[in-house]
Amino acid sequence: MIKGRTASCWTLAGLAAAAMSLPAHAQTPAPAAAPVKLGIVSFLSGPAASPFGLPGRNGAEIVIEALNAGTAPAPYNKVGFGGTKIEAKYVDEAGSAANVVTDFRNLVQRDQVDAVVGYISSGNCLAVTPVAEELKALTVFYDCGTPRIFEEKARAYVFRPSPHATMDSVGAARYLIAKKKNLTSFSGINQNYAWGQDSWRDFIGAMKVLAPKAEADKILFPKLFAGEFGAEVSTLLTSKSQAVHTSFWNGDLEGFIYQQQARGLDKRMTIIATTGESSIWRLRDKMPDGTIIGGRGPHGPLAPDNAFNKWFSKIYTDRYNVPPTYPSYQMAQSLLGLKLAYEKAATGTAKPTTDQIAAAFKGLVFTGPSGEIKMVLGDGHQGIQETAYGTYRFNKAKKEPEIIDVMRFPAECVNPPPGIDADKWIEGGMKGAKC
């Protein structure tokens, strides 16, 4: 009997401990007066801060301010989330994956945030995903591109409105083929980690489908943040390729552009920069005219001419004196999607629970500054949208970068259909693509 009572006590203690370890906000709706707490995670230091992390963070700041003031255009004009003001905590994504996971746990368990919106690095997204699921913490990835998040396993609490990397590579291949019909040889230079490898895999796969006679010549994978690309530029100069694909970003993209320009690589072949839009305002006339520019979706100069884009572009430019680039757009659409899901889930004055918001987010279709987003992949957790590519030109009269010759590709043309992995879709000839 004593043994049995002791066991029961231990069981109760265990249950109590287990209950205490769960995030309280996932269980009990909080009173409506409490602000909606958001953890915003982005690179605030290190090499990724300047091109991605800070524009993303600034995008969050400006959108949250507008939402709290109720000045965003309808249907986003209700104050904060469902009438409750938003309180944001900004956290630096820099550091090892273990540190990033620790910071995530702190946001959820210590700070008791209602949702975490963030993450640029694909590695960090992959590290955070299982923890978010374990803690049942609503998490919205805003920029990371790896398709593996929702292909490896179904997720309940993780969402990503921005399309994954496959769209960027397939869109780049379609634009290149459309502009260079007689292409016989192309090369690639991509960073040697998940993003660069995945980008090249999808690009070369799409090229095999769309231009089977064109051959991949030089395939280069320099180290991430290598900085010096002399040997790579020489290798490309000695190739017969008419185009070179790169998914370089941050300082690597800018360093490569400077170094290739000093040696005239862009005079011999067209550069396809799938993330080039993020650097055009810094590189300006140093970005070679004729470079094929992508922006991981229809963002920045590639964004549609809609009311949301006009609003977002204006408030961002007014505040930061520079137009928003694609990380800012991705952050904006992630927050707007979350707001709609929150308000769809809310009933009465009480805060909706995490499960209610997740259920409302699943399969959501909404329009933001970059156009329509449909959460149709990954069982309704991964968004798709149309993408656009164009050709760069520095307008010397206006002294401004511009993207001309823009081609738009419908979401279903450059994204795999639901239920099939991106690489298998490309390998199978991109069947079902609606272009």
Partner: protein, 298 residues
């Protein structure tokens, strides 16, 4: 033939970059027996200083050659100032402590200085490309070489020659060699080892900043650039032998040529080759190519 000449030229340019960065690191280790992680900060401060200088001289429409000298001068001056602050203000307090403790102190300083960069220059990246673009290029067959890269090789050769000549033929160089060989005996013979330490650290810091300055026009000057450099510099110094200047030169050439060959012939092993070479050298010569095994003192 084209590939061979491309490997040679690319290897030389990369080796020049590595040597300029590594020579200060190996000099400080040779004399002071300090594995100075802060060297990455000297590089970063040099690069940021150079970017600032480029901004000043391009806005002021200076003569390009004068602007280039100003760029190098400002960066090295920043290196010297940082060197004196760190050596006199911090490192002298830990001389004589365990080498691991000193490494940790320099590592902590490196992390602090990363934030100091953010406070001074902000988190945005800087482009200081003007010297490289204005230098133009030269076409040799199908290969186009940047004239700036040729200047980089010349600067590295000048640094190597100056280091060799100073050590062999100047009074200070001989004193330095004595301290490198045995600091206790050098002190017993009346050499002011403390002064030698300070001067050596200043020279090392200035060389680190020079490395950042000459690379600034080629890269995007942004937070974190010192991290990558310090890892590569350690590899070069380990190959050549810790504390050996000729070792740093040969180590840089080996790494530069091997990496260029890998990029041209087998790009998939480019990442591996630098550290593969280092591992091979250390298996055969655990103290590096130019340093002999030291008998333990009791």
């Amino acid at each position: 033939m084209l590939t061979a000449s491309a490997i040679l030229t690319d290897g030389l340019v990369y080796a020049a970059y590595l040597f300029i960065v590594a020579v200060g690191l190996t000099l400080i280790f040779g004399v002071m027996k300090i594995l100075n992680v802060t060297h990455g900060s000297f590089y970063a401060f040099g690069a940021y200083g150079a970017a600032t200088a480029v901004g000043i001289y391009t806005n002021g429409d200076w003569n390009a050659a004068l602007g280039f000298v100003f760029m190098l001068g400002l960066a090295m001056a920043i290196g010297l100032i940082m060197g004196i602050i760190l050596e006199r203000g911090l490192l002298r307090l830990v001389y004589g402590k365990d080498e691991v403790v000193i490494v940790l102190v320099t590592y902590a300083t490196f992390l602090i200085l990363e934030d100091v960069i953010g406070l001074i220059w902000g988190t945005q990246s800087y482009g200081a490309y003007q010297p490289m673009i204005s230098a133009g290029n030269i076409e040799i067959g199908e290969l186009v070489l940047s004239n700036y890269d040729i200047v980089l090789v010349v600067i590295a050769a000048a640094v190597a020659f100056a280091a060799y000549w100073s050590l062999k033929y100047t009074r200070y160089g001989r004193l330095l060699t004595t301290v490198i060989y045995d600091r206790e005996t050098a002190a017993a013979f009346g050499i002011n080892v403390t002064l030698v330490y300070t001067v050596t650290f200043l020279i090392g810091a200035a060389l680190g900043a020079l490395g950042g300055a000459v690379m600034a026009p080629k890269i995007s000057v942004t937070l974190g650039i010192g991290v990558e450099v310090i890892v590569l510099a350690f590899a070069v110094v380990a190959i050549g032998g810790m504390g050996s200047i000729e070792g740093a030169l040969v180590g840089a050439l080996i790494v530069g040529i091997c990496r260029a060959a890998a990029v041209h012939l087998m790009p998939q092993i480019e990442l591996f080759v630098v550290y593969g070479v280092m591992a091979l050298v250390l298996v055969a010569r655990p103290y590096g190519l130019f340093v002999r095994a030291q008998p333990r003192k009791i």
